[in-house]
Amino acid sequence: MLSLWLNVLASGVLLGLVYGLVALGLTIIFGVMRVVNFAHGEMVVFGVYIGYWAVRLWDVPIIVAAAIAAVVMFVFGYLLETLLVKRFVNRPHHYQFIVFIGLSLLFTGALLVTFGPDPRPTASQLSFHTVSLGFVTLDLARLQAAATAGLLITLLGAYLKFSSFGRSLRAAADNRLGGLVVGLNIPRVYAVTFGLGAACAGVAGALISPLFDAQPYLAVDFTLLAFVTVIVGGLGSFSGALLGGLLIGVAEAIAALMFTPSMKTALPYALLIIILIFRPRGFFGAKEI
């Protein structure tokens, strides 16, 4: 019994790290640009498809697939920001919401046109390998995904904290006007931020491609999950996204053990509503929106 619980807990933590990475992408964008990327789930799904193709066609290790996803999605995000999103950064939230809803419809449509609506299982060899650590048995795919996600989160944190560009990102997040005054190149900061956010989503998608079948309609679920995660942690907070991801991952895993499948999917939302009642801005939320 104990080992069952430990296993569930461990797999929750592992998936939670990946959720954390997804949420991190959303939260970085929000923190710096005060824009909520409602097409975030689509970016995760892009990553899943990249993972699917890389592993399927070129038979590369999942880590390489993740690296490809990172590069592709960074460029994608950078271009999307420069060409479109920047026009809406200073518009009210509902306009941004509608633009992103439009984008998400467009992206889902593009995926449907390209790949069709049917799920494509990646069927990685990894899914069947397990690692045993005393009480806990973990499947390799999950472990690898979590380890990579954890590493990336750490690297990104260090980058934001210590590099000069990372510092200017945080300066822009703290005070956009101040950032302008001290001469930050705000358009570039925004474009890079959006690229980083998209890259986080893409990498997370590639990492979980062995666990989830590639399917266009998956996007909505990922978007909603990312929202729940960042609100639980607090929009715009780095550690909040990580904490939120872990909390949701573990809660889902435990719920899967205790409740029916539909209750399992309802749990994150229930958690969110409860948290909004008691901590309306999440655990590490920004003071004012």
Binding site: G102, V113, L276
Partner: protein, 343 residues
């Protein structure tokens, strides 16, 4: 002297509106069945858009989970009729009550801590998803298998709101007209002034004595209750309801497309926007099906939304009004200003 400032004395907008509805009534009398069923949906979404528009366009509160209220209305009507044979009229009342209470409760929860803007919007979407999942697993309301109304008849039964496609067309038309007249009346009453003041600047409104806390709850409750009426009728028109389609994200998006494309905060915007967007969606779906390209309608919808927000940020209707200034229909155009940099 003062009489010159009587804005409500202008009857031209009412005349124009009446003309539009006479035309729509003729459509109902003459059109073929396909057009009738398409226009029924257009009119229902005009009404739903109107309810959403009241909340954001006049009240300033963004909901991206309106499917919650639509779904509560639909389920109230469906459960009462399918399970107990109770008239949809009662179901509509129950739906209004439920949706209004849930809306008010959400608003109260959120605004109690002065949480507003995007957090409130995210709360609405979370609540809608939570409800959808709960309804998907709730056997009493049919779970994923949904609920089916008794087969439609050609005999019109007003007490049970039952009849043929044409009957539902006129029900939807009446509802849309009611929505437009209602919005215009609210907009000209003290509530309209107070809500628009609150929408534009909450602090300034409070300084003028507007009790914004209760007004925000009120506008959300009214919007939710009217959305439930639209949902109840939508359920009857469709003949069946399923949690994913009546409470899903997709429906929340469909509700707001009309007013956004047509013109936020305008009285006729939702009608114009629905007239433009829904046939386009149907056309693209049909095209996609015949070409065997799924997703074509998503792409078309997506592109239209982005282009409208980009090039016609205040929607089609205000642009039309600007084009034909001579007619001077009433429009309450709300041009949002850029957010302040220090936010």
């Amino acid at each position: 002297m003062q009489k010159r400032f009587e804005g409500s004395a202008d009857i031209r907008p009412w005349l124009a509106g009446a003309m539009v509805f006479v035309t729509l009534a003729l459509v109902g009398a003459l059109a073929n069945p396909y057009l009738i069923s398409l226009m029924t949906i257009v009119l229902l979404f005009t009404f739903l858009g109107q309810s959403w528009n009241l909340m954001l366009g006049i009240g300033g509160q963004l909901s991206i989970g309106h499917a919650l209220f639509v779904g509560l209305g639909a389920y109230s009507v469906a459960v009462l009729e399918v399970k107990y044979g109770i008239s949809p009229w009662i179901g509509l009342l129950l739906g209004m009550f439920l949706a209004g209470s849930v809306g008010a409760a959400l608003a109260w929860l959120s605004f109690r801590f002065e949480v507003r803007g995007i957090y409130f919007a995210l709360l609405t979407i979370a609540a809608a998803e939570f409800a959808r999942i709960m309804f998907s697993g709730w056997e009493f309301v049919g779970a994923m298998q949904g609920l089916f109304f008794p087969a439609p008849t050609n005999a019109i039964e007003f007490s049970m709101l039952r009849g043929d496609a044409r009957f539902y067309y006129f029900v939807a038309l009446a509802l849309a007209a009611l929505g437009i007249v209602g919005t215009e009346l609210i907009s000209r009453s003290y509530l309209g002034y107070v809500w628009r003041a609150m929408r534009d600047d909450e602090q300034a409104a409070r300084a003028l004595g507007v009790r914004t806390f209760r007004h925000k709850i009120l506008v959300i409750a009214i919007s939710a209750a009217t959305a439930a009426v639209g949902g109840g009728i939508l359920a009857l028109v469709q003949g069946s309801i399923f949690p994913d389609s009546i409470m899903g994200m997709g429906l929340s998006v469909d509700v707001l497309i009309g007013p956004v494309v047509g013109g936020l905060g305008t009285t006729f915007g939702p009608l114009v926007g629905s007239l433009a967007a829904i046939p386009l969606n149907h056309l693209m779906s049909a095209l996609g099906d015949s070409l065997r390209i799924p997703g074509l309608n998503n792409i078309a919808y997506g592109v239209v939304l982005v282009l409208v927000v980009w090039f016609l940020p205040d929607g089609i209707w205000p642009a039309m009004v600007r084009l034909c200034k001579a007619i001077q229909l009433p429009s309450r155009v709300w041009l949002p200003q850029p957010r302040k940099a220090e936010e």
